[in-house]
Subunit: 343 residues, 3 copies
């Protein structure tokens, strides 16, 4: 594909800021700037990667809006496209060259489908898939091999279920969701009540609801509650090995990095970002737009639009300063003892 054709395809009405060079090489693929070879398109985001402009073998680059980088690219005879959001444009450029694997519509003969299940148009159901009673699948749903769907679950249009994931009874999954391999959705919440002889199970009669456009990473788990719903709102994305306990209410367009764990009844506002391995205690409320640093431990409610870090979590700026002092504690302690003995 000619570079000029790529530029045309990436331009949209919103892209009035796009600028691009005259060079028009043939582009055969996309690559990272430090791995690209001749014929490939790459991108530069932030100053960290700008240094590769001197050495990259890429034939074309997506640059931020920086005249200096454009000059550097010109000097090295590299075609360029300059945009406000290079990463977004690179994502779209990948899609010009890469067609993700999607099985064709059809039902594999080894799939086991209950007679009462309702299937939409053009569904793709892979080998050894098990679909139990009263399940509903929307149109264009794609279910990869060995997925199990328990009774009365509902999967919205065009959603994709990757291999070996499990959708439990009564779970509602919206349209355009992706459930990655091995994830368990709508499984029983961890509900036990202490008794004299051990732990008595509290049956989990509720359900899990994922709204449209939600993605759940590989081997992540989203439990259902004793009563009511666990709900993840539209456009929220969870990475791998994340745990969402029973009764959590997750807002829209939230992002959780890998291995985050939420205890029961946690409420997370819209557009919250949780870093990797963050843990959140029972019933905590995290406000809209909050950002939580990796490995933080959240035990109290967090006000909207704040950034917190640490375990227990502190305002991020205080955390940074406290962490910087932490390494000086041995020295402080020594002097403290000297001061103490003098006074």
């Amino acid at each position: 594909m000619k570079f000029s054709e790529i530029v045309q395809k990436l331009k949209t009405d919103q892209n009035s800021l796009i600028n691009f060079s005259d060079r028009n090489p043939e582009i055969t693929g996309v690559a990272a700037i430090d791995e690209a070879i001749a014929g490939q398109l790459s991108y530069v985001e932030g100053t960290k990667f700008a240094r590769y402009l001197e050495t990259t073998q890429a034939s074309a680059l997506i640059l931020p809006l920086a005249a200096e980088l454009q000059s550097q690219a010109n000097a090295r005879a590299i075609a360029w496209l300059s945009v406000p959001e290079p990463r977004l444009f690179f994502a779209r450029a990948i899609a010009l060259f890469y067609q993700p694997f999607r099985p064709a519509p059809g039902i594999h003969p080894s799939a086991v489908i209950a007679p009462s299940a309702q299937l939409g148009d053009n569904v793709s159901i892979g080998a050894n898939v098990v679909i139990q009673a009263d399940v509903q699948l929307g149109s264009g749903v794609c279910i990869h091999p060995n997925v199990v769907i328990y009774p009365a679950a509902c999967i919205g249009d065009r959603s994709i279920l990757h291999a070996n994931c499990v959708i439990h009874e009564r779970t509602q999954i919206g349209a355009d969701c992706v459930i990655h391999s091995g994830a368990a959705i709508g499984s029983e919440g961890f509900g036990f009540v202490p008794t004299a002889t051990g732990w008595e199970k509290m049956e989990q009669s509720g359900r899990t609801v994922l709204e449209d456009g939600v993605e759940i990473g590989c081997n992540s788990t989203v439990d259902r509650p004793a009563v009511g719903e666990t709900r993840i709102k539209r456009q929220t994305k969870l990475d791998n090995l994340v745990h969402i306990a029973h009764g959590c209410q997750i807002g829209e367009a939230v992002v959780m990095a890998a291995q985050v764990g939420l205890a029961g009844g946690v409420s997370v506002g819209d557009r919250v970002i949780l870093g990797g391995q963050v843990g959140v205690s029972n019933q905590v409320e995290i406000g809209t737009g909050v950002i939580v640093g990796a490995q933080s431990g959240i035990h109290t409610n967090i006000r909207p639009h704040t950034t917190v870090s640490g375990s227990p979590a502190l305002p991020h700026q205080i955390y940074l300063r406290a962490a910087a002092v932490y390494r000086r504690l041995p020295e402080m302690y020594q002097t403290f003892r000297q001061l103490q003995s003098k006074n």
Copy 2:
């Protein structure tokens, strides 16, 4: 169901403390107090939820033994039942309205069962289940679709294996256990010995034993050891994504929240509670009745009946005070520098 009928069903000989109102509405279901609608039964536990008494639409409530709450309920024309353990009674009330999904006994024709496997009475074996040589299943065992059981494993009466879990060779699972979706039980311990050229595998010839009434959460893993046993004693409950390494010995009625990880050879006493994301180092011994706060890191033995928190873990009261000072470290450091320069 009439409220009076629910009261009768929940009363047992042990429940001499039960008290209840005269009102007798028709109850159609159960719900959380802040989500209940007319006709539903809910419960109040602790002061946090008592404020909902003013607004709930529930027709009946399970209350703690508090005359003030009873008066409040009366004032709002809500039927009530007052008991020492509202959460336990609510759990039993759920079971009056909710029948968990249990497949009927029978063997799906797509299941692959070795001729040498021994099956008890009334087992339920779902689609695409694979049961290998010399496996023994007790009576009433329920195996959901796509489960794989390696050779010579033994599953006790009435135990439930959810979809896509894997039971490895020689694993012993007791009666009334639940293995949730995607869990791997009895898998090879992580045993490697360093050599000049890399890592040499230590074969894991031991086995994993789960005693009666154990529950293992979704996608959790319980490894078997090189020699001897990994053992989880009766009534112990593990949440999702928990890791139990080879050779651990876990006591009775232990509870581990999600994402806990135990290294090899850890010993955990009876009735221990580990908060979410806790990590425990090799060979550590945790005494009976210990409570460990979420995200703690345990590197040394913990005495029975203590509560610890933090990484590395401290007695909980010290941890709370130290954590409170932590946020003042920047201020302390500044003053410390001033004091230091004066002295």
Copy 3:
């Protein structure tokens, strides 16, 4: 097997340092030193286990090179073998008594194999395995039941895939690898670009490569990147529930304990050891031979051959001292306030 026969089998040309006792009991199995019964072989490593020499019922022991332990064993009439690396020799002794379960070569009739897949000699393909288009399997590959392999993946000679793991499209797995139950290899990296309306998916067109001798634990996940490769080099071993994000480059003979999480683009040098639950931020570089303590958080590059601990990680010696002072913070703070008021 006679003890003398075991000694002969364990001796190799490199073992010039081996020394052993005259006793020659019949050995029927292997066990841990505190659990061994008469007829069993065990081993002693380090002083922690030496105390069991006084009480063990083992008939033979593998000892370190310590004359005192040899005398103790003689005094208790226990046969012994004295070597520089007792654990390595015990590992090899286990292999004399234990034959791990390996299904015989052959293809189960329920396996679903695309016509375009290429299978090497003597492969073993279990029940309900799904092998999609253009997959290549080397000779002696063993695939346990219910595994799913997406199109164009390649599995090297003698590699073992345990039950219910998923190998995604284009993944390259070398020879002699082991993928444990439920692991997901080559799944889509977590790549989203923020937009005004939510998160736009960046297609993950790259692939995951595991070199020879790599092991991936149960329910671990290794994602593929948007462009280029996620690569794990030869002999690297990952424990259960580990997360490797898109684009990571992991060196040779690295060991990661359970529940480690690496964010995108992390680089890990050869022979690095990461303790359990360690987290590493985006793009960080960890040098060759680094050791990272359990639960550490790595946010900056780590120089080769250093040991770090803590979150954020510090040099291990500083961490130990700072952690020791941490518990004294309440006391320090009190005195600090007194000093402050005096000055």
